[in-house]
């Protein structure tokens, strides 16, 4: 009789034990998960606290002879990592570059290039007729491509000089070597060399040492063109003997290092000295007046024989006329905004259009949405494009009219007057065309230049019609 009850007890005990084991197992699993989560959190907090310490380690010694950016990158891996990303090809609405595939040839091994601007607007070929830019002109790619794109542009069909390398390679150390330690001497020696010969002296596109002092990492100017250019510009403002590396503020340097290259220039005299034409000021008409005063011309127009000028990427000068410059905002504030990396802020060495990086570039100051900020910028750019299109159309008409007048036997002096009008209008339109912000750097200044260009075209047409006195009186 007792057996079944004992069996029942045993069964019950067995069941209870089983239930207890199952419960324990669930509990263990639950607590294990909780412990897993808490430990993960603990480690995360630990990592975040470690981030807050300053993780700078000097692993190599950098000197004034260290050219290779990869060596600098060992001490500054975050900046170097961002710097290498200028290989990215991404377009904005009115600029930037997109990767366009091409079949490599023996002259040009590139498999990818940027969009041809000549194809987008064939009027540019008429504007530059007879000059190398009418052969090949493309959207600019990132800093990483500056040397490659210069070597393989079809513009090389016309002989180019060593002065071009000043801004397409890291030249500080090559200049010093060539000049036996004298930077300016090296610059003077390389300027008149044929391009292919000068090319042998340089190795890297723009590198760390072009903007940074290797000892202190402070910004410094190394390019002779700017050292001399800023001196004449400051002299025009009434500041004699300006030494940029001693007298510029930190914030000014954050624009000046970019202004070493993103500027208008010409090659002066037989020695082809690279010169920034800021003797009267930075504005396009100041520069034009300077070129007129020395009788400089880049080339003779193939269709009209006019003595022409070519403007090149005057970003620094245009920014100088704009509201951001007025407010003390430097190039680096928008093109290399501070970016958080761990607990540190570093400047973003992935130099690019702020329109590709609106949150860091704009929203630090402008507390509105990214869409709104993009719309504001594109509003300026769309209007600039519209003005540029009107002026470009009028310029092409003037070129056509001069050609007709030449065969119709219009007197030489009236033709010359029209050619002068073409030269001036073309330079101002080109200034806006070559400038990389499509008007954003200084919208009103850009509009002003388009307006003056139209006035020159008007005067040219009146000269051809034989009523130049009337034109002059309207102008005055």
């Amino acid at each position: 009789m007792s057996e079944p009850s004992q069996n029942g007890d045993q069964n019950r005990t067995g069941l209870r034990l089983q239930r207890l084991l199952r419960l324990s197992a669930i509990l263990v699993l639950f607590v294990a998960l909780a412990a897993f989560g808490v430990t993960a959190l603990l480690v995360n907090i630990f990592e975040r606290k470690q981030e807050a310490r300053n993780p700078f380690f000097r692993v190599v010694e950098l000197t004034d002879e260290t050219e290779d950016p990869a060596i600098w990158g060992k001490n500054f891996p975050m900046q170097y990592d961002l710097y290498t990303r200028t290989v990215d090809m991404q377009r904005t609405r009115y600029g930037g570059s997109e990767a366009i595939p091409r079949t490599p040839t023996s002259d040009d091994p590139r498999t990818v290039v940027a969009q041809s601007r000549l194809e987008l607007d064939p009027r540019l070929k008429t504007m530059w007729a007879g000059y190398a830019f009418a052969i090949d002109f493309r959207e600019e790619r990132g800093h990483a491509y500056m040397l490659e794109d210069q070597m393989f542009t079809a513009r090389q069909q016309k002989p180019q000089v060593g002065a071009c390398i000043h801004c397409h390679a890291s030249v500080y150390i090559p200049y010093k070597k060539l000049g036996n330690g004298d930077l300016i001497r090296g610059f003077e020696l390389m300027n008149p060399m044929p391009y292919a010969e000068a090319r042998k002296y340089v190795e890297h596109p723009v590198a760390c040492i072009d903007c940074h002092d290797p000892e202190t990492m402070q910004l410094r100017i190394t390019r002779p063109g700017f050292l001399e250019g800023i001196k004449v510009a400051k002299a025009a403002e009434g500041i004699p003997n300006y030494d940029v590396n001693k007298m510029a503020t930190r914030q000014e340097m954050r624009a000046f290092v970019c202004g070493q290259c993103h500027v208008e220039y010409y090659f002066k005299g037989e020695e082809k000295r690279l010169t920034y034409p800021w003797f009267n000021g930075y504005k396009a008409d100041d520069v034009l007046a300077y070129y007129d005063s020395i009788g400089f011309e880049d080339w003779t127009h193939a269709d009209t024989g006019a003595p022409m000028l070519k403007a090149q990427h005057p970003e620094f000068e245009t920014w100088n006329q704009g509201i951001h410059s007025r407010a003390g905002v430097a190039c680096a504030d928008c093109h290399m905004p501070y970016v958080r990396s761990g607990a540190m802020k570093i400047s973003d060495h992935h130099v690019r259009s702020p329109l590709l990086n609106i949150n860091n570039a704009c929203q630090t100051c402008h507390k509105v949405s990214e869409d709104e900020l993009k719309a504001r910028a594109e509003n300026i750019q769309a209007k600039t494009m519209e003005m540029r299109d009107h002026s470009m159309g009028a310029l092409v008409e003037l070129i056509g009219a001069i050609q007709e007048a030449q065969s119709a036997g219009v007197p030489a002096e009236r033709l010359d007057e029209a050619r002068q009008a073409q030269r001036r209008a073309s330079f101002l339109i080109d200034w806006v065309e070559a400038e990389n912000s499509t008007g954003f750097h200084a919208s009103q200044e850009t509009a002003r230049l388009m307006f003056i260009s139209m006035d020159h075209i008007r005067k040219g047409q009146i000269a051809l019609a034989g009523r130049s006195e009337q034109a002059a009186s309207v102008m005055q």
Binding site: T13, R16, L17, L20, S24, L27, V28, V31, A34, A35, V38, T39, L41, L42, N44, I45, F46, R48, E51, A52, V339, R340, A343, K345, N359, N360, Q363, T364, K367
Partner: protein, 151 residues
């Protein structure tokens, strides 16, 4: 047999609970958990993400009269701890996962909290100009953006 298994279960449970409590409380202490009950501004910069805001506040015009909580949490007890808890959770989650917009932006809710706190102190001065007429209310921060902290 039964006794031994009960003892075993109790020991196991105690060990589990003990480990959980130990790791949990260590994490809590390591993360300076108790500091969040205080009103001190430096606490908000426990996480380095707030360091710039803290530094900017220390140099801002309001640092002598208001700490973080005076502007960023309501002034009565329960709403204050509700907002503290809500933001505490959201901020911890964002900082741990790393998913948040940079530069940091205040949510509409937190914007309203701050706006109400401007009025908490400045109401006597501003009530004459605060006549919305049914349209959206005036926004102090729209013009006085830098009074708290520039960043």
């Amino acid at each position: 047999m039964r006794r031994r298994s009960i003892v075993f279960a109790v020991v196991l449970l105690s060990a589990l609970a003990g480990i959980g409590m130990g790791v949990g409380s260590y994490t809590f202490i390591y993360a300076k958990g108790f500091s969040y009950m205080s009103n001190d501004a430096i606490i908000c910069a426990n996480c380095h993400i707030m360091k710039n805001h803290f530094d900017a506040w220390a140099k801002g015009s309001h640092h002598a009269v208001a700490v973080c909580n005076d502007c960023h949490t309501p002034h009565s007890l329960i709403p204050k701890y509700f907002v503290k808890g809500l933001n505490g959770f959201n901020h911890s989650l964002a900082f741990t996962t790393g998913h948040f917009h940079e530069p940091i932006q205040a949510t509409a809710f937190n914007h309203r909290v701050a706006e109400a706190n401007c009025r908490y102190c400045h109401e006597d001065i501003v009530h004459q100009i605060d006549v919305g007429g049914g349209r959206e209310p005036q926004d102090c921060i729209r013009c006085h953006r830098y009074v708290g902290h520039w960043e």
